[in-house]
């Protein structure tokens, strides 16, 4: 078995995903990067988009909104043998959702919500505006990512 890395996706609300994958692509603020096992330690910001993990040749796409990623190598002591390192990729996002959770129905809703929010944003107070802005970005990201993965194959 080839070497794998440990992917963790965490939001303030819950732990979304924790599993061993072959590689993971992330939308950083500077562009898109792909992390393979034994990547050097890295910290960077994430923009909104999709985190695509590849596990056993299958894509596991997740829609995320803003956050950070921390890549580090953990030394795991095996009782009998030599210690090995595991690359851990921790994604801290404000929101994260598996693409399969974005069903057709939800996309339609998200689209409608995005439209509605856009209209509302024009005549809202400052405080509310922040909330709507975040909501809007979340809705738009959902729509974008769901559209992108509609025709592609991925692991549910």
């Amino acid at each position: 078995m080839s070497k794998q890395l440990k992917l963790k996706i965490v939001t303030p609300e819950r732990l979304i995903l924790e599993e061993m994958v072959d590689q993971v692509s992330l939308p950083t603020t500077e562009g898109e990067i792909t992390v393979l096992p034994d990547h050097i330690p890295l910290i960077t910001g994430l923009s909104s988009g999709d985190v695509i993990a590849v596990a056993n040749g299958e894509y596991v796409p997740m829609a995320i909104v803003e956050g950070f990623v921390e890549v580090k190598n953990l030394v795991v002591g095996v009782p009998s043998g030599t210690p090995t390192t595991i690359t851990e990729v921790a994604v801290l996002a404000d929101f994260a959702e598996h693409v399969s959770e974005l069903s057709e129905e939800k996309i339609v809703q998200a689209k409608a919500r995005a439209e509605e929010l856009k209209k509302l944003m024009e005549n809202k107070e400052h405080v509310d505006f922040e909330h709507f802005e975040a909501e809007l970005e979340r809705s738009l990201t959902r729509v974008k990512i769901a559209d992108k993965w509609r025709t592609k194959k991925y692991r549910k």
């Binding site: 965490v10 939001t11 303030p12 609300e13 819950r14 732990l15 950083t28 603020t29 500077e30 990067i33 050097i40 330690p41 890295l42 910290i43 960077t44 910001g45 950070f68 921390e70 580090k72 190598n73 953990l74 030394v75 795991v76 921790a90 801290l92 404000d94 929101f95 405080v127 509310d128 922040e130 909330h131 975040a134 909501e135 979340r138």
Partner: protein, 320 residues
């Protein structure tokens, strides 16, 4: 027997009240469970973001960020400042019937307002309030404190998205130099039976405080799950992609937001548990009341029967 019916009616009304309080108790219990579990769920995020922050800090030697620097000592501000200002965020519930929960935190806030140190010119330090929850809002307005914003549409199920306006407002006001300090009055959830009203400073961020908060989160969880801290021994040097300053500032913003979120969750858990206890007491009290009233009712009934019998036998005696 005139009051037999009245007693019966009272028993009936107390019984229906008991049903309601019992139902409220159960609802509060399940809501409390959810609130507690979401408090624990946010722990992991807190831990990771702290780790990232410390790794940045140790690589960048010194964290220089407006949210970190303590402004109270800056001379330039003291000279020009008309008054130094403090912003207090008061977290209360929207609804009553939850024991001393609201009263405690409001009392704490009021005593804080009274004990404010006196400013340079002998004037009080200006204080503004952001209220979360109707109860605190009403109390503060009655006191005549300047409430600059009130958030009363947060329900029991708090999501992070709902905190964004609160945290954004606070951070904008702070970075715009309107305030020197931001404090939060909230209720600490210690256990289902004990909650403590507390006032904590969130801005400027003090690194030791923040660390304490996060460590407390970790301690509050049953051990067994190895934390990331135990696994890494040596410090690694990280590669940073992008602007480090930007990274730090957005990380600090997120940590502050997370702290507010955490405090709201704590307060929510406290609210539900104190409501649960209050409703449990009410149900118990109504049970006792029903027992007492049933006893009174039975006594009255018995007295009535005895009287009737004696009347009949007296009538019999007079006839024969």
């Amino acid at each position: 027997m005139s009051n037999g019916k009245a007693i019966k009616n009272r028993i009936k009304s107390i019984k229906s009240t008991k049903k309601i309080t019992k139902a409220m108790e159960l609802v509060a219990a399940s809501k409390m469970k959810r609130a507690v579990s979401s408090t624990l769920a946010s722990r992991l995020y807190a831990e990771y973001s702290w780790e990232i922050l410390t790794s940045i800090a140790q690589n960048a030697e010194e964290l220089e960020h407006p949210l970190f620097t303590d402004r109270s000592g800056l001379p330039s501000r003291n000279v020009t400042a008309d008054q130094r200002k403090i912003l207090l965020i008061l977290i209360t519930s929207n609804r009553g019937l939850c024991g001393a929960y609201n009263a405690q935190v409001i009392k704490k806030a009021i005593s804080f307002l009274k004990n404010l140190p006196v400013g340079k010119e002998g004037k009080n330090i200006g204080i503004d309030v952001v209220s979360i929850g109707k109860k605190g809002d009403v109390a503060m307005r009655r006191l005549g404190v300047n409430v600059i914003a009130s958030f009363i549409d947060l329900n029991d199920k708090i999501s992070l998205a709902k905190i964004i306006p609160v945290s954004k407002l606070v951070m904008d006001e702070y970075t715009a130099l309107h305030y020197d300090k931001v404090l939060v009055a909230y209720t600490d959830f210690i256990s289902a039976l004990t909650q403590r009203a507390n006032i904590k400073q969130i801005l400027p961020v003090s690194k030791t405080d923040l660390k304490e908060v996060i460590e407390n989160l970790v301690v509050g969880v049953p051990s067994g799950t190895p934390t990331t801290k135990s696994q890494k021994e040596q410090k690694t040097t990280y590669l940073f992609e992008g602007d480090k300053v930007k990274l730090i500032s957005s990380l600090v913003e997120k940590l502050t937001r997370m702290q507010i979120y955490q405090m709201l969750l704590e307060s929510n858990a406290s609210e539900q548990s104190s409501r649960m206890v209050a409703m449990k007491n009410a149900s118990d009290a109504s049970g006792e009341m029903i027992d007492d009233l049933t006893l009174v009712f039975n006594k009255a009934r018995q007295a009535n029967i005895t009287r009737e019998i004696s009347e009949i036998s007296a009538g019999m005696a007079s006839v024969s």
